[in-house]
Symmetry: D2
Subunit: 253 residues, 4 copies
């Protein structure tokens, strides 16, 4: 099967990493599907990709809702008869709540799990059957089908005031590990990236926050993150990486 | 304040660790409150403690429900005027679901978080204000107030077929770490125990399962777990342990 | 066998943790042997213990030398006919070298391993046969024989300028884990403590360094560390802890 | 500076990963220097690279000897006037000793540290000044200068009978982390790879050992490891990975 019959799905797109991921995977596969809560998150990326002669389809999706994910996958199925899913990327950040524990509502606390737990469950539940179909094609596809997941510093360590975000990211890492061990032997490469630093997004620039003293390359370039994910996707199955960390050179931790 | 004016709360009691915890803490403090879904989990323990001349109160509670936890705490408040909470123990196991990921329902997957995430949130939200009051008494209480939490092997590693349980246990550990860092400096000792092996419960005995070849002491004695929790409770604040592992001598991992 | 026929060995004594360990274990067992490079490290502790009516013997030992350790053990054997070793504690800090990597000599770099690697090899090689003899006595001894080891923050993380100390502490932890898995099933409890903060030693006091702003209990009390080691020693074999961390309540990491 | 003025050094070559690393880096840089104890380890690789029209120089080196490493670096300096070091790879396995702890000699135990500690110290001490010179060239070189290091499963966990190997690999990881934090901010990318499975080497094939039941791709392809190292070398400094794991798809751990 030529790469021309393959497509990718990116959940969680916006101005930063998601856009870079969309551009990177669309360079390899003719069509990418971009999932985000609202069109304003994907519209400009869809235009950018189409302007480059590739195809992109934005679908408004709330990953924490099983029916919303199900609808998105039906829409994707309708456009991909005889095509196969090469890579599914889960880059959903969720709402970042930072406040004293006793001021958190149950809903705020659970927001981390909505993104890192329930949302990923829905996404993985919907895409893994498609990735298994691709795995069955074996060498007929250029790269093993991949499920790639975005973690953070908080995936490894719970800090004060961050119980919501950390519990979601820990849950996401746990689920990713479980899936790597269940679906790896079936030919699906499941990998987790720890993004361990501030990402150089438009929003960060607007904020005026000088990360690492504003030093050049002191924030992580989203394109570099996308390159790393794509490289993981190309690893042969005899040598898969399950987890990488990514951080700017300037960090001393 | 004498120990006679202090009490403990144990959430998650039944035939094994919870019973041992209840007996251990009731030996130190005259009253313990035992939370479990149904009276059959705590009735015999309440009787056993009362027979020994101490006081125990069972309260049917669904920790994953904020209102149920709130009701339980109101009932406790009604019986503890002028008394202080010495230790709150979260020993809720939750439903253990082990099945292929694609056969899991969203509800089954989320069961892990209901116990390890939402349930602990409710319990910690309700007990931390009481523990802070005790912390304000400083040297007037014999031991720093403690919030002690039960983890498992799955707190550290997601295995195939165990995404529900592992995601809940990872989330629990994340939240515990966050709380340790927020409330430690305020005088509340938050600690997490990794129970890394099979526990010698009545249910295990009935099952006939020969753990570690049925070797003597090849399963973890619940009383020994309770001793460890109580010891953590007695640590002076200059030297707190945040995490311990507990496993039988026979394990080679 | 009564506790009166048991003894303990503490390697690495001085003004802080080692002294507390010596006092703690001598309270349980009538004789303790204290190993340090020079008499000035153990003389006052030996006097203090003897003044309390217990017995202590100081032996000048360089643990990084196999023959020096061998001599020490012969001296111990000469005084312990018909007695058994209850606990061996390895609390050797070694030389702490902190400097830019390119300024380190090979000898300075290897100093970490001399203490954490070679020194512990010699100590464990000499004491494990004695601990195995004690293990063979089973319930005739009050506690499982134990080999207890002092680690540090640098056991888990290599920081800039600390390659010597970190490589030694990592090697020590690796060896401890290997021994826990080999000798645990044979009845010897091997455990590792991560001392994760500054210890309140006479030397620290003299230095005038205000750890954690000089806050009360902001440094770790050596007696509390000794209590933790002794508690590990008393764990029943069905529920052994392999690693604990110890840090002051005020730490936020 | 064009790639034509850059070179690489690979320490630890032989039939497997080292050969693949040599071929991979020689494809990018015109000259590679190959260090191994004896010519039989590098002779055929040197021939193979020369046959492809690139340059390779084998140098018999015992990395655990400072003077041997120093001689090797002098020989390299003599051939690289006006050239710069692009990448230094430490792939030295050392002697793997697996035996009961009490049967280990001090020399056998220390063999792990000779390779993972002292050997790496000598190699890093000699190559980091050269890598810093390359870092000073900034964008004039195609990729940030890199120091890449081979770890193993035993870098993370000490198993029974493996104290020698594990202590060396732990020490290596500690040193690598220290260097990453000291030299990263100075522009040198220090990264560590956990090779978590059996490598498909000629020696493994000869042994007849059927890893993972002999399943296809059940052992790690050395070329895939080399690809991973080279990819790490190409990461831009805003997004460096400090540690990756590599394992066959079939592994369930």
């Amino acid at each position: 099967m030529a790469a021309s019959n393959l497509y990718a799905i990116i959940a969680g797109v916006g101005g930063g990493t998601g856009r870079s991921l969309a551009l990177k995977f669309s360079a390899a596969y003719p069509t990418v599907f971009l999932l985000a809560r609202s069109p304003e998150s994907y519209d400009s990326i869809v235009k950018e990709i189409k302007a480059s002669g590739r195809n992109a389809v934005g679908i408004s999706t709330d990953v924490s809702s099983a029916s919303s994910v199900s609808s998105a996958l039906k829409a994707i199925a309708a456009e991909t008869a005889n095509k196969n899913l090469a890579a599914a990327v889960y880059n959903v950040g969720g709402k970042f709540v930072r406040k004293p524990f006793l001021e958190l509502t149950e809903e705020e606390y659970s927001a981390g799990f909505e993104a890192g737990g329930r949302g990923f469950f829905n996404f993985a539940h919907g895409t893994l059957p498609l990735l298994l179909e691709t795995a069955a094609l074996k060498e007929a596809v250029p790269n093993p089908p991949s499920l790639l997941v975005t973690g953070a510093t908080a995936s490894l360590k719970g800090s004060a005031l961050c119980s919501s975000f950390a519990s979601g990211k820990f849950a996401l890492r746990a689920t990713t590990q479980s899936l790597a061990r269940e679906f790896g032997p079936k030919g699906v490469h499941v990998a987790h990236a720890i993004i361990d630093g501030a990402i150089d997004t438009p929003r960060l620039k607007e904020s005026g926050w000088k990360v690492n003293g504003g030093e050049e390359d002191g924030t992580i370039a989203p394109d570099a993150i996308a390159d790393a994910y794509y490289w993981l996707h190309t690893q042969p199955r005899s040598a898969w990486t399950q987890e990488i960390d990514i951080r700017p050179f300037i960090e001393k931790w």
